[in-house]
């Protein structure tokens, strides 16, 4: 009898759940491989640093097998906020099983969405990721403080966005992955800070050349977590 139940359970598993694809993608801002906690002091360049804000858009997440698109997430734009752990976990539920060996996504909001008027949910301007004096989404926000930064109260503010040529800051990221139900993507903030020249460029809050450079820096610190 027990055997029959086990066999039935296996059959059920095969026909029901096993047909569907469920992948969790976690975006995890890290400092020295540890998840960042806001307003906590981290040792940095013989001094210390605190991070108060990390918020960004991840868009158009899709799965590829040998450069062929096999699946994409229905929801296009996700606002990831370090203060809201639920926002860091993005679920993909597909109708059928897929084989994939890379994941593609963009950091930011594409230009078409930027010119399409008021939107709701993660794209609602109420989320504070939309500029008011000039139209456009802020793709990535990083704020914090360190004595290495000569600004008022030693605060650095990077609000990176811009959707119009020649300052379109949307970045594409492609990461090779092994098929896994739980994909971890790390954002190495120490590595990003090393590239930012905190002592010289510490307030970037509009589209332009500086934002373009920083957008590229940001995309370079996304990697597959361990």
């Amino acid at each position: 009898m027990k055997k029959i139940i086990i066999i039935l359970l296996i059959c059920f598993d095969q026909t029901g759940y096993a047909q569907k694809e469920a992948v969790s993608i976690r975006f995890r801002p890290v400092f020295d491989s540890l998840p960042i906690e806001t307003d906590k002091k981290y040792p940095y360049k013989n001094d210390s640093i605190e991070i108060s804000v990390i918020r960004f858009y991840v868009s158009n997440i899709s799965f590829y097998q040998n450069n062929q698109l096999v699946a994409e997430l229905e929801k296009k734009n996700h606002l990831v906020d370090i203060e809201n752990p639920a926002s860091q976990l993005i679920q993909h539920i597909g109708e059928k099983k897929i084989q994939y060996n890379s994941i593609h996504f963009s950091i930011g909001v594409d230009s078409l969405t930027n010119v399409s008027g008021a939107m709701g949910g993660d794209l609602d301007p109420v989320n504070g990721m939309y500029w008011t004096w000039q139209s456009g989404y802020i793709n990535f926000k990083l704020e914090g403080k360190t004595k290495l930064c000569p600004a008022r109260k030693n605060q650095f503010t990077y609000h990176i966005g811009g959707y119009e040529y020649p300052y379109n800051t949307l970045q594409q990221v492609e990461l090779p992955v092994v098929h896994n139900n739980d994909i971890m993507i790390d954002i190495d903030i120490r590595q990003l800070l090393n590239q930012l020249q905190l002592n010289e460029v510490y307030e970037v809050m509009s589209p332009g050349e500086k934002a373009m450079v920083i957008a590229k820096n940001i995309s370079s610190v996304f990697s597959l977590g361990k």
Binding site: N114, V115, S116, G117, A118, P125, V126, T132, S135
Partner: protein, 337 residues
């Protein structure tokens, strides 16, 4: 027989001229171009328009509840701000620019004098958040609206859900503004064959067509471009217009070409309101341009007009005033409930 054919073809012609476009309950003359606004993404609906109208006239949008949109966009001035060259906001702070008139906004692609805003839905964010205008923030406005029984009821009627969100606030405001269609000036009645220009207006129309129509293009009386019209930069404001937005040097001192419709109601003129009278505006284009090398291409040939021709031009321009639009009760203060 011939007369019959003539009468018939004349009737057809008049019918064609007075053809009206109906779109989501809004209407405009058949000779208007296709609107830039995508109505399918925010289909106008009377409850949403009423919510937007209430928000437009409500000081709840400003930090200290003293300023509404209508404070600087008054219906009696075709929704512009009269008497002040530069508009003022909360705590009597004076801003950098002259609040523009609001009408026929469905045809406009870029907003603000420098085109900083790319969509009608998003335009209120600029005034709402500017420290010298309303000094507020969208999250705080949404919070205040969610605490108001009056607004919760309006949101429920409009969206079937009483909870206010940023998206709903912006879409409702856009809907009210989309209804502000001005298309019944004497110019329109002439185009629709209902009346005729006087001889003086005819002469003015000919001058307009020769010198002004390239930028202030019929029938909207703007081509929605940005131009340097030869005004020297104000040394106190240091406002370089579209250059600030595009960061392209060739856009220096470029400002939005405004529509000339309703121009009698919208004084003072120019982005900084430096001219109080229409006569001064005409004088600027005929005698005021100092450096023809920097102005936009279409203005590089001097415009030479006699004093009589200037008066003729002015008499045509006055046919662009739409009194019905100014006094339309649907656009007025909705009254407190």
């Amino acid at each position: 027989m011939k007369t019959k054919v003539t009468i018939l073809s004349l009737t057809v012609l008049v019918a064609m001229l007075s053809f009206t476009v109906e779109h989501y309950g809004l209407s405009w003359p058949g000779y208007f171009p296709k609107p830039a606004y995508d109505f399918s993404k925010n289909p106008p609906d009377s409850a949403k328009i009423q919510l937007g109208r209430n928000l437009f006239y409500s000081p709840v949008l400003s930090l200290n509840s003293t300023i509404s949109c209508a404070s600087c966009h008054s219906p009696y001035n075709a929704f512009a701000h009269t008497d002040h060259s530069l508009s003022h906001g909360i705590h009597d702070q004076v801003g950098n620019r002259n609040a523009p008139a609001l009408f026929n906004l469905a045809w406009q692609k870029k907003f603000m004098w420098d085109g900083a805003v790319n969509h009608l839905d998003m335009q209120p964010l600029a005034a709402l958040s500017h420290p010298k205008e309303m000094g507020e923030s969208l999250p705080s406005v949404v919070k205040k609206l969610n605490q108001s029984a009056f607004y919760r009821s309006l949101f429920y009627q409009a969206f079937g859900d009483s909870v206010a969100t940023g998206e709903k606030v912006l879409k409702a405001l856009a809907q009210f503004q989309l209804t502000l269609i001005s298309a019944n000036a004497k110019y329109d009645q002439v185009r629709q064959g209902k009346t005729a220009f006087t001889e003086q207006e005819e002469r003015g129309y000919a001058i307009f067509s020769k010198y002004c129509n390239s930028c202030h293009k019929e029938p909207m009386f703007t081509d929605y471009s940005f131009a340097n019209n030869g005004l020297p930069a104000d040394s106190t404001l240091k406002d370089y217009g579209r250059w600030i937005i595009t960061q392209q040097r060739e856009d220096s001192l470029h400002f939005k070409v405004p529509s000339l419709r309703n121009l009698s109601y919208t004084f003072p003129y120019m982005h900084d309101g430096r001219f109080k009278k229409l006569q001064q505006v005409i004088d600027h284009y005929t005698e005021g341009i100092q450096d023809y090398k920097v102005v936009s291409k279409k203005l590089r040939k001097p415009i030479l007009l006699s004093e009589e021709e200037k008066i003729d031009l002015l008499s045509f321009l006055l046919t662009l005033n739409d009194k019905e639009f100014i006094y339309n009760p649907k656009f007025n203060y909705p009254g407190k409930k």
